[in-house]
Amino acid sequence: MKQKKHDLIPFSFYDLCGIARHLEKRAAQGWMIEKLSNFGWRYRAIPPQKLRFAATYYPPASDFEPEPSEGELTFQDFCLHSGWKFVGSNGPLQVFCTDQPDPLPIHTEPGEELRMIRKMSRKALPFWIIMLLITLAGTYGGLATAVFDPIHFWTSPSPLYSLVCYGALLVYFGADLFTYLRWMHRAKQAALQGEFLFARGCHRILLAALFLAVAGLALYLLALLDQPLVLLIFFVLIGYLAVLCLAVNGVKKFLKKQKVPARLNLALTLGADLLLAFGMMAGLTWGIFRLADSDLLTWGQPQSPLSLSRLAGVEEDPGRTNSYGEHSLFASREEYRLSPSLEETVQGAPWLDYTLFRTWVPGLDSAFSGQLYREAPEDHPSWEVSYQPVDPEEWGALEAYQLFEGDEPWGEYLLRWKGTVAQLHYYGDLSPQQKALIGQTLAGT
């Protein structure tokens, strides 16, 4: 039979009632809280009991203190004198329990309890504001990408996942701050009448946000299954963050065991955090640059559906041909450069650059071609260029455009078939047969 259990319910710091009710439920299920930490709560098995719990704060306490201060121990003595046994703490958060059916509450003056919670909110407020700003910026960035750069948003797995995460966390931090301010206002009114008003925090919203983030992560990883190198880099980054957290926590614990004063512990832990973060990031960056120089990055690159040999009877030079691809669950983007040897290029042999966008989502192909159409002048700032419509039937396409500088045609084309968009740059003149071949090949992929 299991003797230990863990959970991590992200209660809002002002939801002391919620914390107490949760621990009472656990005790009734046969689990007694044993240890509280930032990484979760640990329980030990007990016979199911009806216990009363109380959560409160002793604001001067800190997670960096080597041991409880005299003041903290005196506070716990006071509570024990009333029948409240100390069971655990995490920084300033103190948890007590009693088996008395109708115990005297730890706080009997609502104004004093509010004063204590407001003290804690001053510590939480900078974090709240920073997280609100970060998540607001991230959400705005994600939405702006979705609106103004739908190609990047839908063809890369990162932007959509980022938007889901940032958006969910923005909702959580916004809701938590709003809930706290509204509750504090009402609680102050109730305190004037000598009444307590218990808070209900937003931990369910945070759990929902975390669930969305995990679901988004699962979809993100699914989209990377055929890009093992990118997956590897992702897991290396996760591992890096985990190691950093454990290392910093380890430094703090070590310094506590050495009875280092709290302020010195905080300063040294922060210093270790910065050093480790920079050091590990430098190592990661070096590793990624080494990878970029190696052949490993060619692993898993897409194969071009078009070839110069089929199109123009010219052999491609593998050293001057490359490809790049990325995709999400909704769309993909592949870039190809097909070049003959340098000698043949100098002799006027054609080469081909093209980007292929594919999607199964209705309407996205139109959004992609619309963005490429609008961006033509931005991609060629030195010339007055624009896409002009040409006969799509030559390509077997729904839409076809050619880039013109004034009346002068360029060898750049924008083509759309159902679920596929292609932007081609062909050095040479394309015959109707070549256009039909391109259309058959790309539309059928």
């Binding site: 409160t56 005299e70 121990l73 005196t74 506070f75 003595d77 006071f78 509570c79 004198h81 009333s82 409240w84 005297l104 509450p105 730890i106 706080h107 009997t108 003056e109 104004g111 004093e112 309890e113 004063r115 204590m116 000598g194």
Partner: protein, 107 residues
């Protein structure tokens, strides 16, 4: 305009200061107050601890001795004055009630 701290005392503040008219250990106040009020007023341990700290900070009480973590306190002159002022305020309220209460409720 916000009320100055301890300008008006709550019931629990009043009885804590009243108990400390004589030197007393902080924890013993938790039994003393219900005993003096017939159980009508009770002070929780967290509230008592916080108020004692605040009273010391405001100069209304002072620590007299410490035996380990058991600390004893007594009212200072400022504390006596604050207690007297609160008593006078309550008396004025009681007098106003006697003068203006509906006749059937008048003692």
């Amino acid at each position: 305009m916000p009320r100055a701290k301890f300008k008006t005392l709550t019931e629990q503040m009043f009885y804590i200061l009243l108990c400390l008219s004589e030197e007393k250990c902080g924890m013993d106040i938790m039994e003393e107050i219900p005993a003096r009020t017939g159980g009508r007023v009770q002070v929780g341990p967290g509230t008592l601890y916080n108020l004692l700290e605040q009273f010391v900070g405001a100069g209304l009480i002072r620590q007299t001795r410490a035996e380990g973590r058991r600390r004893s306190y007594i009212l200072t002159q400022a504390g006596q004055a604050a207690l007297k002022e609160e008593y006078d305020r309550l008396c004025r309220q009681a007098e106003d009630y006697r003068r203006f209460a509906p006749k059937e409720d008048a003692p």
